[in-house]
């Protein structure tokens, strides 16, 4: 088979404690990561209507051929797939993804991924050392937080050596001694307590957040998967891979000694995604304590920080926004670290601000209709509040904590406020119970993709340039780094969509056919390159690069060059998107069997009924001219969105009346066996 793959995937049956090796070659057509995870899921989960907590739910932790090779910003991520428990009303077949070094280490230990199914009667953890697999008793680990759990496993596996010492992990010749610690992915108390927003965590702050996979592992009594290996990954053309890496560093990287592209307005702190300066990913934290940049395995950007004191290490993105009410950075970092240690998904539990709104309305509070019990919302701006609130959810304390542990959307349903508050926007959750991320009325490749899929898509490759760049430059009074017309032209060329109108966010453009092609591209690219080849979303796709000649980004040339250098196989960019479409359609078939219908694919009411009220710059084409529009006072039109569904379903080969995949569409992708199963269940689109 192609280089880059180790060649086998570990399957663990937790019910009878048996293991099996699956030949990766059997699934290579799906690439890796999400694709292989979904394909194995399809084959081994016979009843696609089970709940995420059912023992037969199958969870995979998958890598790609690129993982562990040192490919730039494409080497350190792991994809998780399986039935989720977080979404509302149904826990769809879903995914999450985390960075760090686990993906590299599992390959060095001899596997392309780990698949778990079944349920242990008692707490266990999986111990993988250079190809040797044991299922260990986790009774003593149960109840520990995620950081404590990893430290205990490190001690157990290494024989408690000093962190600087060599130890013997050897089961193979010439490959046994290492100073590395095992890479551990684990759950915290929230996962043990089946909190629907529980995450899995690896090292300090690498969380697989969305979907509730922490709770799924908790339901299986699986505390952790640890791996350590001293092997390596065979790369087809190592010299070419190194050349690519150096080339990308030179063209697109940040040179601390002589940066090509510094923040255009000196000191303005919002150009990180354009400069790629080390440490740029930390969201709000201009650290007030000594800090140094760090990154995932093989990354040439190193976008996050380790900070003195240890709180918030490796945390990037929205977890940095969890709670900021008292304005004290040390407390904000502590609150974020608490999330990590208890194992909770910030993008659900940060809805404390939505609950505060109910308190301020006089609806929620101690002894009120929504009884907040002893959670001190009257001390919202104290660390005491956020600590008690977070622990109440993780440990299901009281009726209030127990209700929130079912997920904040389900809490709203239980309180009888879901319809009203998703209509006014007090509860701004546009689809499947997920919190609003980017504006669903404007950045529609994000919202359409989320609704036609399984979760908030969380893919930033378009967004940072289409929205954030013009917003920041307008705010500081600077000309855009690139004109709207130039930007959308780059997008059209780099994606292969070909039509710049795909990135027209005008009031009409968001419903037009070119936009739907851009939405489809986004799903197909994401499914293959981001979620299956596991290129990091914070680096890929790179559709433009302000510090490169002509503004040309790395996409699509570098993706296929990296693939070729590692695997030795030719893959055209067009073919890669077709594999992405195949994986996307396989997922669509699973959602169909789970009960997805066209009628379910609607946003909550506020998306249609409440207009935007803040500037939101995006490219718009009006009277034939491109500009960055301010996009105020916009909402989605129900009728026009129904037309979007008609045309998007047709574009994807799904039946317009049901949204279900058709035989013709699936057959074209080599998924006839999937069509047979849908047909057998009376769910094949006509």
């Amino acid at each position: 088979m192609a280089k880059g793959y180790v060649g086998k995937i570990l399957y663990v049956n937790l019910t009878d404690k048996t293991t099996e090796e699956i030949a990766t070659a059997d699934y290579q057509q799906f690439g890796g990561g999400h694709g292989i995870g979904a394909a194995i899921f399809w084959d081994r989960v016979k009843d696609k209507t089970i709940d995420g907590f059912h023992p037969d739910n199958l969870v995979s932790f998958m890598t790609s051929p690129i993982s562990g090779t040192g490919a730039p910003s494409a080497s350190g991520r792991t994809e998780i797939t399986g039935f989720g428990v977080q979404q509302y009303p149904i826990g769809w077949f879903t995914r999450s993804n985390f960075g760090g070094r686990w993906s590299a280490m599992i390959k060095y230990a001899g596997f392309d991924g780990v698949v778990v199914q079944g349920k242990s009667e008692t707490p266990v953890w999986i111990n993988i050392v250079n190809g040797k697999v044991t299922i260990e008793d986790a009774t003593d680990l149960w109840g520990l937080d995620t950081h404590e759990t990893q430290e205990e496993i490190w001690k157990t596996v290494t024989g408690n050596v000093d962190v600087r010492d060599w130890w013997d992990a050897g089961t193979i010749r010439d490959g046994g001694r290492t100073t590395a610690k095992p890479a551990v992915v684990c759950i915290g108390p929230a996962g043990e307590n089946l909190v629907r927003s529980a995450i899995v965590l690896h090292d300090a702050g690498n969380g697989g957040g969305q979907g509730g996979f922490g709770a799924v592992l908790g339901s299986k009594n699986l505390k952790a998967i640890s791996c350590i290996g001293t092997g390596s990954v065979e790369v087809a053309d190592p010299a070419d891979l190194m050349d690519i890496r150096m080339e990308m560093k030179e063209k697109f990287g940040f040179n601390v000694d002589d940066p090509k592209f510094e923040a255009p307005v000196p000191g303005v702190p919002m150009y990180g995604m354009t400069t790629n300066a080390p440490g740029y990913a930390s969201l709000l934290w201009a650290p007030q304590v000594p800090a140094r940049a760090q990154g995932c395995h093989g990354c040439f950007k190193n976008c996050r920080y380790n900070l003195e004191g240890g709180n918030g290490n490796g945390d990037i993105c929205v977890e940095g926004l969890y709670w900021m009410a008292n304005g004290v950075q040390a407390d904000q970092l502590k609150a974020t670290d608490l999330l990590d240690r208890l194992g909770l998904n910030v993008y659900d539990v940060m809805g404390h601000s939505n609950i505060l709104a109910l308190v301020k309305m006089g609806i929620a509070g101690p002894g009120m209709a929504i009884d907040t019990e002893d959670i001190p919302f009257d001390k919202y701006d104290t660390y005491e509040f956020i600590e008690k609130y977070t622990e109440a959810i993780a440990y299901r304390k009281g009726t209030f904590g127990d209700t929130l542990a079912e997920g904040l959307t389900r809490a709203w349903v239980k309180w009888g406020r879901y319809e009203e508050d998703t209509t006014t926007g007090v509860l701004n959750r546009p689809q499947w119970g997920f919190m609003e991320h980017y504006d669903p009325r404007l950045e529609v490749e994000w919202s359409y993709g989320s609704l036609f899929g399984d979760r908030d898509i969380n893919e930033h490759g378009v967004n940072w340039h289409a929205h954030w760049m013009p917003l920041v430059t307008a705010a500081v009074g600077q000309a855009p780094l690139m004109s709207a017309e130039e930007l959308v032209t780059h997008f059209a060329e780099a994606t292969g969509v070909g039509d710049p109108d795909g990135w027209d966010y005008s009031a009409e453009g968001i419903y037009a056919d070119p936009k739907l092609k851009a939405v489809a591209w986004h799903r197909h690219y994401g499914r293959f390159w981001i979620q299956s080849m596991l290129f990091c979303d914070w680096a890929w796709p790179q559709l433009v690069a302000y510090n490169n000649e002509g503004g040309v980004g790395a996409t699509p040339d570098y993706e296929v060059r990296i693939y070729k250098a590692v695997t030795g196989e030719d893959l055209s960019y067009e073919d890669s998107l077709e594999i992405g479409r195949k994986i996307w359609n396989l997922g669509r078939a699973i959602w169909t069997l789970q009960g997805r219908t066209r009628e379910m694919e609607v946003f909550t009411n506020y998306v249609y009924d409440v207009a935007t009220s803040a500037p939101y710059f995006l490219p718009v084409k009006e009277n034939g001219e491109w500009s960055y529009g301010i996009c105020l006072d916009r909402k989605l039109d129900r009728e026009k969105f129904e037309s979007v569904k008609d045309r998007f379903y047709a574009l994807e080969g799904w039946a317009v009346d049901t949204g279900w995949p058709t035989r013709a569409g699936l057959s074209e992708l080599g998924l006839d066996y999937v069509a047979d199963e849908l047909d057998k269940n009376g769910k094949l689109g006509a």
Binding site: V268, P269, M273, M324, K360, G362, A614
Partner: protein, 152 residues
């Protein structure tokens, strides 16, 4: 940015202690001010402010010249519609002097960074006055000689 005593001097008359207490009271849901915290990773998140204390933290939270370790730090931007802010300060909070000063000095200023810096300066200056009034009422030495550190 830190505001010195000199910079904080305004033409605003000192409020009474009662006015300060009134302005700093907690507000209910219908009285809130809504701003937007804009971030590269999370989009525009509506920020409900249930009192002047919340608003001060939000309005002074823009760190256009933050002491970054790196020139390209990502950061975030706090945005508020200045007309709504002025109306809220005047009609809900009750600090008419601050509202009118912000209206006259900041309304219509572009770009937003310049507008925000004016608002930050005026709000910080007003909070120094509040502090002076508070300290005087409680018989403690005035602390307006110190620098007022804005909220994060």
């Amino acid at each position: 940015m830190p505001v010195t005593t000199e910079e904080a001097t305004t033409a605003l008359p000192l409020p009474t202690y009662e006015a300060v207490q009134h302005a700093l009271r907690d507000l209910n849901y219908d009285e809130r001010l809504v701003g937007h915290a804009m971030t590269a990773s999370a989009g525009n998140a509506a920020k409900d402010m249930y009192g002047l204390r919340d608003a001060v933290m939000f309005l002074t939270g823009n760190r256009w010249d933050a002491p970054m370790l790196h020139p390209g730090f990502k950061g975030a931007m706090h945005w508020v519609d200045v007309k709504k802010l002025v109306a809220w300060l005047r009609d809900v909070v009750g600090d008419v002097d601050l509202a009118e000063t912000i209206s006259s000095e900041a309304d219509g200023v572009e770009p937003y960074m310049a507008q925000s810096e004016i608002i930050t300066r005026l709000v910080n200056a007003r909070m120094l006055q509040y502090r002076e009034v508070y300290d005087t009422h409680h018989g403690v030495a005035s602390s307006t000689e110190e620098q007022a550190e804005p909220a994060e």
